[in-house]
Subunit: 227 residues, 2 copies
DNA sequence: CGCCAAATTATACACTCGTCAAGATTTCTT
DNA sequence: AAGAAATCTTGACGAGTGTATAATTTGGCG
């Protein structure tokens, strides 16, 4: 029988959830490595410092472990571009920084991203996953919304497409070039940047060739540093 | 040992591949129903009129069966909008027809579409799947390219974004609203249509509010044959 | 019909899976 | 230090998997 956390003193609850998170983290590694369908409890335990039996001590069942891992995953990736947004004062800086960050995380965190697409696809079949997946999707959509809002502010462009409609397009591009990257195509990252750049321009009513307006935010003092 | 088709008379080859396709079709149903990860050979056979042993008579192994099914799947969906393209003479007709067809297939063929996204996600993990997935992806991209080319022709708009970059955006929207639809959101279909409509307009340099130009194909006779 | 090969079934094997419980070990409290 | 509680290991169970092979049925042809 799993210990009921509600009947434990505060100190033990901390330790309990602490180990839970520790195991969830290890599970996350295994999930990212071999995928949702192939990640068995024994395999997950083997990538941790415990044996497979302990998983049932900290988690009700496999699904409890998976969802705990997934929630942990979300927290890692949702604020990825926020410092970038806060720092960028010019359209070009935000754009180049965003594109570079996108391409970098696609390559460096490829395994985590593919896990996300794996889980989201499984949510098409397993109803139990949908709530968590929908929450993460919304978080990512919000993140894109913050970026695009900043883009519009810096370029002085109006919003001609809603945030909820914008995110799936970015996501479609990311998923597409992620598959190309994982498949070993070396140009996937640069192609992602080029495609997203066009989507940014499109979504703000700029033709691809147009130079961004960079509506003099405050003082248009310096125009240097193109890219 | 599986019978080698190359050593059989022509008549038996037909029967052999015929049954192969028959079984692949049954497998496709099961795959769409319960997903790639959960589709066992016994489950697949149970949805056919045979027992699971016969699968190894017609297929080398499970992967051989899966890929055969996947190739069969592709053939069904790639020419979906071609008659629509050929028939539409005005921008508005093509647009409304395309949007309606998109929404209809998303609802009616939801299980097949979710299988496609399932398989594409699994290709992120299983290298053996990537070639088939890449081929289907390219076929879908070509299909979108034919549609958008027709859009541009009817609206007299220039191409401001490449076909290879356009497809993932359409696909991202489709995948997004498919998940919403499968999750039971009744407005998913109409939201898909609204979002794709905006993407069409965006990709041709029209602001969302603008009425399509419908550059009166003055003398359609001279433009015939473009396809 | 009788026969042989193709086609199909039925069964078996070795393996992995999630789950569970009993026992061993560590940690904490008093 | 001793007992109690928390934690971890070990091994087992039944179900399900892909694969392989022997047994059986089917169908065409001399």
């Amino acid at each position: 029988m799993t210990t009921d956390p509600e009947r434990l003193p505060r100190r033990q609850i901390d330790k309990f959830t602490e180990r839970r998170n520790e195991l969830a983290q290890a599970a996350l590694m295994t999930l990212a490595e071999i995928g949702y369908a192939r990640a068995s409890l024994r395999e997950i335990a083997q990538n941790s410092q415990f044996t497979h039996g302990v998983l049932h001590y900290y988690f009700k069942d496999k699904f409890d472990l998976i969802t705990c891992s997934v929630r942990q995953y979300k927290a890692e990736c949702v604020t990825r571009y926020d410092t970038l947004i806060a720092a960028a004062k010019r359209f070009e800086d935000l754009e180049s920084g965003f594109l570079k960050a996108l391409a970098t995380t696609m390559c460096d965190d490829a395994h985590m991203h593919r896990l996300w697409y794996d889980l989201r696809s499984q949510a098409l079949y397993e109803e139990e996953l949908r709530q968590d997946v929908a929450f993460i999707d919304q978080s990512l959509s919000d993140m894109i919304a913050r970026v695009t809002a900043r883009f519009r502010l810096l370029a002085g462009a109006p919003q001609i497409i809603s945030d909820g409609e914008m995110y799936p397009m970015y996501d479609g591009l990311f998923e597409h070039y992620l598959l190309k990257h994982v498949s070993g195509q070396p140009k996937a990252a640069s192609e992602l940047k080029a495609a997203v750049r066009k989507l940014i321009r499109l979504s703000m009513g700029m033709s691809g060739a147009h130079r961004p307006v960079t509506k003099a935010i405050k003082h248009p003092s310096a125009r240097r540093g193109r890219n």
